[in-house]
Symmetry: C2
Subunit: 675 residues, 2 copies
């Protein structure tokens, strides 16, 4: 799945500028606020009352404006319904945006993907702004808030960077940001969804190599060895705590996380969570029952994290280590004075988690074998069903979700399936709805980007197919996207090379003919974690590649109002043998689904690319073949074998040569016969 | 020339770690301070007295330690003798280092290139530290300076970043940095060299498209249009002022610069320089005689810049724009409060200068044609002279310098010629001296990296040759370095792509067999400016490529104690035609000297690479051929033609094919004859 959510949104949107289409597939039932009376579609939400109530709260706090971001306290990529404050206030349910309310105005910023949706969901209390940069919001604030005025924000919903960016723009103009630790939207949101009732679960031993006690010791060693001499580590991202304790939950859609923070010192472990959800069995597992010694977990109430952190910071001689990318401003701001704070971009948990141990590598590969079965089942079924004319983007998405659910250890999809036909596939981050779902036909290309959560791993794969006759341009574009995927996959590089320094290999074959794509080229994936597992990947803020990391590789090409192509595989970083050097690495693809042969123009491929492709298909035959046998899926096996036959280079010098040699043989035979 | 000097030193050194060799070519005449009495070679400098005097100055300022960097007030890559304060204090004359003095200790930090040299030049007053990071210096300071102590520095010699880095490390431990605007070394340096006497010169009209008045208006427009509403621009880098006024000087070795700052407002121009060096003619040129209106230049004394800047800043409503990369801390620190400061990484002069106008492009290409004549003369002469056994690295360097000096508009070398044979070529930034110069033989590879200053342009080119029989490994390494050069040169990319995102193309063929190099891949060059003209190039802090920029491309490979290879060309960025897209760019090579054919294994080259090479040789034949004709250099022309013959792919399928086709023809002929 392409990565344009969460923290990287601004970066990603910049890259998309000019290439993303407006969501033209929506029916035109947008609001018209300049009509008299204003026209509001049935999908618009009446926000008059809630805005009135919020403005009363703002007066009580003495703030002139209030900023409402679309994230949660852990700066998560997906948020739970109870954290959808921006959606509650505005009516707009898109996954990216910022809302700002003053006593007289209410404005939403969102990007081009969502403009039509916003016009359908918002009432006329709200204005829509289309430049989503912090600068744009800040300039609006400067024009609306008088000098000396205060602009309030919930510090739990701001990253350090967001706070810093606003601050840079606002402070020099004599408007002040004011941290308001009680969320004002929550004060007026009377039917806010509760915390999900589900208990936390621990991972079974078969998917674990390192116990939580081992992980705690490992992280403590990193704290101990740090030259800045921190005394504690604060974990804020939900996957950090989940990883450390080998626990999972169900609070966030698609991500098996639970609301939590951890404060880890050399002799204490404080786990902040909704303690009522911890079973007796788990308390035993965490040595939480009668806690004494450095390897027992003290359970604290989730809402007490600021208070407890304050108590810790107030002690003399302490220094708290935080990763700046995922810590919210509410916790950061109480770590004062400066010498009690130590920062790195990512916490040592995130950088440690990025490198999978041998067990994690093995089971993550295994999950991809089973996942390939589900995708092959989808593709095989579509090949037969589409010509009959009854299938749609939605039925295809449902089918692949069902296939995955039948695989061992399945825990549902890892994100909302992108099932997109024809022009819909040219829209970034499109997922079908009843309104937009197209019927699948042999005349359009089809893109399916989907993934599963399994107890042993998270998967993410994209295939693009055509069931009829592709145009020359479609074939060329597909082949060049594939060349990009192969060029990255087969490259050999020194350990420690950054993804951002090689991602142009994914674009180069496209650039050659003036094509490109407007999203990132790949992101880390985890073991039953988020489908975008930063900081691994090809973005500029990702960490260097090391053996045992997993990342997606996903170049694409999108022709507005026509078609979209993306080819995405997950790969593992492994050692490469070289003639002269040591410590070189390469990728091995662990996704195991063949590409649409019909769309590959082998005459464009170099002999190295062709050889890579044939080797990859050999691997699919071996690994997926065995799994299909195990599952008794004979028809699927046959389909897979047919689609993984070795390619011969067409129209190449080799074939010219071999025909020349045939001619020679013929000539010699003739000679022989004659003489 | 590879770029490891100046501001990028820290970055570059990090890249070199592990690959740079100690300068083993020096004879072992290092000091031995643990002997009794200590042994000091004749090359060591007695620093006892000057240290005593400096320590008195430090006591007067109440500082516990004093930091002495190796740069000048303009953070220049090359410094004038009068700015060699670190060398004066330590005895060590290497181009990179930092010295720190306390009342009891004196320590130098320099990198591995210079360790032996430092041990030869320093007396036993000085310790040598080998970790050159700011952190290392800071940790030493923390161990030597008591809490509450002050650490002095000359703010003119610190960049904002250097000051910030020290500050981060020191402030949290209760040691304070203290800006001491009068340089303490200068107080004890009684025979400090004076300002060079030469006058400034203006560029002739034939090498100029934009008058200084046009440039001033252009930059003022950028100030006017900046949304942060600056009222003035402060220029600190020497090439900024030189560019703005189309002036040149002779204060800095190899760089035609003069000591200067500029403060440009909407209606005034203040030029800070040694006013006595401005001739009457130049005063007229600058409208400086009776200055009134926005397009006359007010000449101010160089040493009054802080004072005048203070006066300007004290006015209400002003805001000064600075580029943070080249402004020293002494000027930065007086632009207070914060709302009077506006920063960008580079000043608009540097980013404007990076894109050459049509005249600049034309004359810079022209300079490269004449420069190629000199390099061809060197290579041709060496081919004959080396087997006779009398030539050395030094005589070769002298020869190419002499050849360049005979070319039209020559203004000397653009840096110290790197003329390196055998193992010397494996040393980063080696230049020959009487002690180290090797005799050139047919048994060793030879690398020559040299460039010229011409009134119309600055050049920089590296060729590596072998006059005997190269080993298979040398040939493979050379070919792979060449493949890197070609792969970057021929790539097509969208306008605005950054060099850092494609520089791996220069390494990829090497990586494939486990080889690499430890320096950057290229840097901008200018029109009669510095040979490293940032911010253009392939480093991570370089700006995106645009049409009209010039950069070097210079991959290499270095085998310690054995040989070194580098192939460097200067290229211009120009539009590329593509099948589907617009606004795509590519490179065109403007250096025009053939590569050593003997070292190219064409069987490793792809057909695209071979075609690029043959096209390039066609260009050399056309452009250089005409110039050689013009200059009546017939022997050189013959030599050039011989070395630019088209390559045929050896051992490739094409040649197999063509021989098969010959066989077929033969067979058919035979058949024809028989039948």
């Amino acid at each position: 799945m392409t990565s344009c959510g969460g923290l990287l949104l601004a970066l990603c949107l910049a890259a998309l500028t000019g290439t993303t289409a407006v969501a033209a597939a929506y029916e035109r039932t947008e609001r018209n606020c300049s009509a008299s009376p204003p026209y509001l579609p049935s999908t618009a939400v009446n926000t008059t009352l809630r805005l009135q109530e919020l403005r009363v709260q703002m007066l009580l706090q003495n703030i002139s404006a209030y900023i409402i971001p679309g994230t949660d306290s852990h700066l998560s990529e997906y948020i739970a319904p109870r954290d959808a404050r921006m959606a509650f206030m505005t009516g707009f349910t898109g996954s990216a945006g910022t809302a700002v309310v003053t006593q007289t105005k209410a404005t939403l910023w969102t990007d081009s993907r969502y403009w039509v949706q916003a016009e359908r969901q918002m009432d006329c209390n709200w204005d829509l702004e289309i430049d989503v940069s912090v600068r744009s919001v800040a300039e609006w604030l400067i024009s609306e808030v008088p000098p000396g005025g205060y602009i309030g924000f919930d510090p739990f919903l701001f990253s350090l960077k967001t706070q810093g960016d606003y601050s840079v723009f606002l402070e020099s103009t004599n408007r002040s940001l004011m941290s308001v630790p009680v969320n004002l939207v929550d004060q007026v949101w009377t039917d806010r969804p509760p915390i999900p009732p589900g208990n936390l679960t621990r991972l079974p031993d078969r998917v674990i190599n390192r116990s939580w006690e081992m992980k705690v010791e490992h992280i403590r060693n990193q704290i101990r060895e740090n030259p800045y001499e921190p005394t504690a580590l604060l974990l804020s991202a939900l996957d950090e705590t989940a990883w450390l304790f080998n626990l999972r939950g169900n609070d966030i859609p698609y991500n098996p996380f639970f609301y939590s923070y951890t404060l880890l010192t050399m002799d204490e472990i404080w786990l902040f969570l909704h303690t009522e959800r911890v079973t007796e069995e788990l308390k035993v597992y965490l040595n939480a029952a009668s806690c004494s010694g450095p390897l027992c977990v003290q359970l604290k109430s989730y809402d007490s994290v600021r208070e407890h952190l304050q108590t810790y910071v107030d002690q003399p001689g302490v220094k708290v280590w935080i990763g700046t990318e995922y810590t919210n401003y509410a916790l950061y701001e109480i770590i004062t004075p400066e010498e009690k704070l130590m920062t790195s971009t990512y916490s040592p948990v995130l950088t440690t988690k990025a490198v999978k141990d041998e067990t994690e590598q093995r089971i993550l590969r295994d999950a991809h074998v089973r996942d390939a079965v589900a995708v092959v089942q989808l593709l095989m079924w579509l090949e037969k069903a589409v010509p009959e004319g009854k299938e749609t983007e939605l039925t295809a998405a449902a089918y692949v979700n069902k296939c995955r659910s039948k695989q061992k250890d399945s825990r549902g999809p890892s994100f909302e399936t992108i099932s997109a036909s024809g022009p819909n596939a040219a829209l970034a981050h499109y997922s079908p709805s009843e309104e937009t779902s197209r019927r699948l036909t042999v005349d359009e290309m089809y893109l399916v980007d989907s993934g599963g959560q399994y107890l042993d791993g998270t998967t993410d794969i994209t295939r693009t197919v055509h069931w009829g006759t592709p145009t020359a341009m479609q074939k060329e574009a597909f082949t060049r996207v594939l060349m990009g995927n192969i060029e990255i996959s087969r490259t050999i590089f020194p350990s420690g090379t950054r993804g951002v320094n090689m991602e142009m290999l994914g674009r180069r074959a496209l650039w050659e003919v003036g094509l490109n794509y407007g999203h990132g080229t790949g992101h880390g994936v985890g073991n039953f974690f988020g489908v975008h597992e930063w900081p691994v990947g090809f973005q500029s803020n990702n960490i260097p590649f090391r053996i045992g990391m997993f990342t997606s590789i996903e170049p694409g090409y999108y022709k507005e109002n026509d078609f979209g192509i993306r080819i995405e595989d997950v790969v593992v970083i492994k050692p490469a043998k070289t003639k002269y050097g040591h410590n070189y690495l390469t990728f091995e693809t662990v996704s195991l689904v063949p590409y649409d042969r019909k769309l590959i123009d082998t005459s464009l491929l170099s002999s190295e690319q062709l050889q890579w492709l044939n080797n990859y298909y050999e691997t699919i035959r071996k690994l997926l073949g065995a799994e299909l046998d195990n599952q008794g899926l004979h028809e699927e096996k046959k389909w897979m074998l047919k689609h993984t036959e070795a390619f011969m280079k067409s129209g190449s010098s080799e074939s010219v040569c071999s025909s020349s040699l045939t001619l020679i043989a013929l000539a010699v035979t003739l000679l022989h016969n004659i003489i």
